[in-house]
């Protein structure tokens, strides 16, 4: 892929409306954010890896079936520390999208992810994940090879992984396919990223019996970063004063800063890395997910 372009002041969306002073990003509709999240020119995992990490060595394969190109991973150095990276990688053109299955991982992708998680645990590498997928692959082969099981086992591995985990939703957080690599100690979201139980189009088709009601569904589903922050499910929204595809380098650097802060914080909490501190981190991770849900008792 090409070198990341810097902001083009000609095309960049202004930070605020010159007349009203309202930030441009605050007036976007949920569906407009969906479109931004899906923009092919939005920086993807490999762009983050190139800009924020050094000495990246991609590790391939699930050791039993194949190498999934929609979910990539490897070791790299992040500000002087060895880390494990996992992330969804859609393509930027048709050819690349076919090769990467539009960023929709197959079971071997989730099995590779689990393998690399265990690998990270073995060597004490913190795990950083980038979430950016429309969904897990819904194909015949994926069903044959146990897509559900592969996702479930990835969830299970992350819940108990004895290294710090920082997850960032950088584009589309598409249902179980996204969740599979987003169980961590910190979950961050870019302002124009989305995280949804189903694509708005699918939700509209099921609940409105009309896929063209996606606009309405997107609004009702509350899938924007600010909505989800309001639910207390994520730790932080990383502002995009200019949409990420207009200012890729600035966005990537802002994400890098936030990852570093959260990772330093988690590592400081581990002190000398004694077992009790790791146990406390895992307990906090468990409590985080144990506590999610809204209900009442009569």
């Amino acid at each position: 892929m090409s070198e990341i372009p810097t902001t083009n002041p000609e095309t960049a969306v202004s930070i605020e409306d010159p007349e009203t002073g309202v930030p441009a990003s605050a007036v976007l509709t949920p569906m407009e954010r969906v479109r931004l999240a899906r923009d092919t020119h939005r920086p993807h995992t490999l762009d983050y890896i190139r800009e924020l990490f050094t000495d990246f060595i991609e590790l391939h394969g699930d050791r039993s079936f194949g190498d999934d190109r929609a979910l990539i991973g490897g070791v790299a150095s992040f500000r002087g520390r060895s880390v494990m990276i996992l992330g969804h990688q859609p393509g930027t053109n048709t050819h690349e999208n076919l090769e990467r299955n539009f960023g929709m991982p197959r079971p071997e992708g989730y099995r590779k992810a689990r393998r690399l998680m265990e690998h990270a645990e073995k060597f004490g590498f913190p795990l950083i994940t980038f979430i950016d997928t429309p969904a897990a692959d819904p194909g015949v082969g994926s069903e044959e090879r146990g897509q559900g099981t592969a996702i479930a086992e990835s969830l299970l591995a992350m819940i108990g992984l004895r290294v710090p985990i920082v997850c960032v939703v950088i584009g589309q957080g598409g249902s179980g396919g996204a969740l599979a690599i987003s169980i961590g100690d910190r979950l961050l979201m870019l302002e124009n990223a989305i995280y949804a139980v189903a694509p708005p189009e699918a939700c509209a088709a099921i609940l409105w019996k009309d896929a063209s009601k996606a606009e309405e569904a997107a609004a009702t589903m509350r899938i924007t970063a600010n909505d989800i922050a309001g639910f207390g499910i994520i730790d932080e929204v990383i502002a995009e004063p200019v949409p990420a595809h207009e200012a890729p380098r600035e966005t990537i650097r802002a994400v890098g800063e936030r990852i570093a802060t959260h990772l330093d914080d988690l590592i400081a909490g581990l002190g000398e890395g004694d077992l009790a501190a790791v146990d406390a981190m895992l307990k906090a991770r468990y409590e985080r997910f144990r506590g999610i849900g809204v209900w009442h008792e009569i």
């Binding site: 897990a136 819904p138 194909g139 015949v140 994926s142 069903e143 044959e144 090879r145 146990g146 897509q147 559900g148 099981t149 996702i151 479930a152 086992e153 969830l155 299970l156 819940i159 108990g160 249902s175 179980g176 969740l179 599979a180 169980i183 995280y195 949804a196 139980v197 189903a198 699918a202 939700c203 099921i206 609940l207 409105w208 019996k209 009309d210 009601k213 569904a217 009702t220 589903m221 509350r222 899938i223 989800i228 639910f231 499910i233 468990y286 997910f289 144990r290 999610i292 849900g293 809204v294 209900w295 009442h296 008792e297 009569i298």
Partner: protein, 325 residues
Amino acid sequence: MRNFFQRQGKFRPRHTEDQGGDQNIPEDLWVKCPQCGELIYSRELDRNAHVCPKCGHHFRLRARQRIDLLADPGTFVEWDTALRPDDPLQFVDGQGPYNEKILKTQQKTGESEALITGECLVDGRQLVLVVADFNFLGASMGSVWGEKMSRAVERAIERHLPVLTVNASGGARMHEGLFSLMQMAKTVASFELLGKARLPHFSLLVDPCYGGVTASYATIADVILAEPGAKIGFAGQRVIEQAIKQKLPKEFQTAEFMLEHGTIDLIVGRQELKQKIATLIDLYCPSASVMTRSDHQADTIPVAGNPSQDTQDMPVAVTGDSADE
């Protein structure tokens, strides 16, 4: 004249789609098997655990029917019946507000939510039993599902009991948005604790089991069972057909397909199910048939000479009549 060829009155076959929906089913109704077309006297179907006597087709069951088939009579104690769904998104779809949909569904089904949890005896063995009801909004997993599951697993750990989950689901409950998706993580987190406590999770997949349930706790169980012919998968068949632009074969995503592809451990017919579960409890958790709560208190502190599970009397071996209904 055309009507002459249609079955009239009480001989008109009851279609499976109506199953469970109509509360006033006359006793003398006949049911048509969707697999072999056989007309079955509905009482005979009841006696046969809702399995077609001709072809063995397993009809879908309501959650309460499953509990009746599995639990020793009168032993099921339900937990957390006061939990009710909220409407965190203020969700309104083409059919109206989520709140109203819940009330209507509760009235129609007589259940407060799609998941029923509790404890029971299975041929005298203690078990935490969790059953999904497909008639309640397609057994979609939302916040109440996750919370009931987590509490059930916590009690299982506290009392040192095995867990059986009976899983049917249409997927995550869209009306609760991301909260529903997160129940996948929550339930997996709870079962991770059960695993650390070295207690077994048996998962029975029944027709139909899809989406978030298939991609979370149901497929990380220690032993995964399925009913014959049950449709099981991650993506729904319509979604796949749209993606590949062709019809799927009949056997795709069935329990038999899952077994062949190595995704589940075994297929168990409904008539053998109770006995099989009892055997599993004996093998994995022999203490579950004899331990009481007071025993458990002593058992949590491993003291030499403590009469622990394996020195106590083993339960009477499963007798031939135990699984007969």
